[in-house]
């Protein structure tokens, strides 16, 4: 099996049981961190090096004035045009045959560039190991033809994984069923993500979810333009120096340079 996969997150079916959060920790052997109660079920407050997926809890007042409790499973979106993989100097972050972005932790040198290139703020740094960590869509499980731990744990069918086209069709069908503001999130930017949401509300309603995620401009300038330009300009200079030498010629010292040090005429 080596086809492009998509993990579909249908938030209209999520009950915020956080089974996926726990299953992720269990399968990936990620320890818990002590946190404080801040008056929200959302715990820990954000993704961490040891929390690769997180249910975000959000109280939202809609236009009619009624309060809705929104749940969102946050985590790596597995972009096709992935900022993290673009900047990673050691190819520790890389695309697999399934289209997800995996992480070879041994190769990570802790440069943190991926943290600044990711439009979703996914990679997190662990100072103790000097490495970054993030969801790899349970790459080893995919290789074994098994669903990711989060998908396996989901009791409501909010999480599914399957071939790209099948999942996108399902997503659009579900959005049609839901009607209203429901929409598909993920297939229209960064050349398509391999985690796709069915959002019951408009994207801008959700906390920490960029409406139009893009790889930051500076990252594009850095990696797409300046990186190749650095070598090209240097090459042009070397060629220019050679041309200068064979056309104009060097600036030679005056003739009087003799072994005696010369005398002026």
């Amino acid at each position: 099996m080596s086809q492009e996969l998509i993990k579909l997150i249908d938030l209209s079916r999520c009950t915020a049981c956080r089974g996926c959060q726990i299953a992720c920790k269990q399968w990936n052997e990620l320890p818990a961190s002590r946190t404080k109660n801040t008056g929200s079920y959302q715990n820990p407050p954000d993704l961490q090096w040891n929390t690769w997926t997180l249910i975000r809890f959000q109280e939202h007042v809609d236009r009619s004035g009624s309060v809705k409790w929104l749940f969102r499973k946050d985590g790596c979106m597995h972009c096709t045009d992935a900022g993290c993989a673009k900047v990673c100097p050691t190819e520790a972050l890389y695309h697999t045959e399934f289209g997800n972005v995996s992480l070879n932790v041994d190769k990570c040198i802790g440069c943190k560039a991926c943290m600044y290139a990711c439009p979703f703020g996914v990679p997190k740094f662990n100072a103790a190991t000097n490495k970054i960590y993030k969801c790899d869509l349970c790459y080893t499980r995919l290789q074994g033809n098994q669903p990711p731990a989060c998908v396996l744990s989901c009791p409501t069918g909010a999480l599914q994984i399957g071939p790209k086209d099948t999942m996108l069709n399902k997503a659009y069908k579900r959005v049609k069923e839901l009607g209203g503001d429901a929409n598909v999130y993920g297939d229209k930017f960064v050349d398509g993500t391999h985690v796709v949401y069915v959002l019951p509300e408009k994207a801008e309603v959700y906390d920490n979810l960029p409406k139009d995620p893009k790889i930051p401009l500076q990252i594009i300038v850095w990696k797409e333009f300046l990186k190749p330009a650095g070598l090209m300009v240097a090459g042009a200079v070397v060629a220019g120096a050679f041309l200068h030498y064979i056309t104009h010629g060097p600036k030679m010292p005056e003739e009087e340079t003799t072994s005696e040090g010369g005398t002026t005429s």
Partner: protein
Amino acid sequence: MRKGLIKATRPFERVVHWCLALSCFLLCITGMGTMYHSLNFIGAVIGGMANLRMLHHYGGLFFGVSLVVAIGLFWKEAGRFSAKEDWPWIKEGGGFLWHVENIPEVGKFNPGQKIFFLVVALGGAAMLTSGLLMWFPLSFSKQLVRTMYVVHSLGFLFIFAFVFVHLYLVTIGAPGSSPAMFTGWVTRGWMKKQHPKWLKEMEKNGTLEVYGGNGGNKTSSS
């Protein structure tokens, strides 16, 4: 050392210049090994990419110290332009770009060298600042760190290109220049061609040091 050679540089100047040159070379190599995947093998040579990154960081600190000392050392002579003296030389391209019968005479540092010094000083400072922010990015805002990636790679573009201009000029581009960096003693013929006014100034001020004593082939008698 031959009799009649002229002292162009002091030992401390040469040491500082070498510190700057070697650390710049090290930073180019280690930086490129990090930037280009095809050059990742440079990391393997020293036991992994993490070592390469550390070498780049501490090499950068060494470069920073060398840079500060070099700026302090050369600022007065190379950092100040004088329109009266420098402009005619710039207008003629210093005789490097087309044929010039009489190259306008300038002092110890010609305007090309001064521009070079400014690029190294300002570019080096930009590399040092952006490099430090990239080393400790978590203390700064995301937009600032992202901009530093651009500054650092743009700085590399300029510095790497300048390295080759510099290497060309001090080797085959202007033969006789490199001894100034090694032994510090250059020939009178080179001095007359490259820095005639400086030679005259030193002769006038009596600060000219000629190897083997000032008696021999010294020309100051006229």
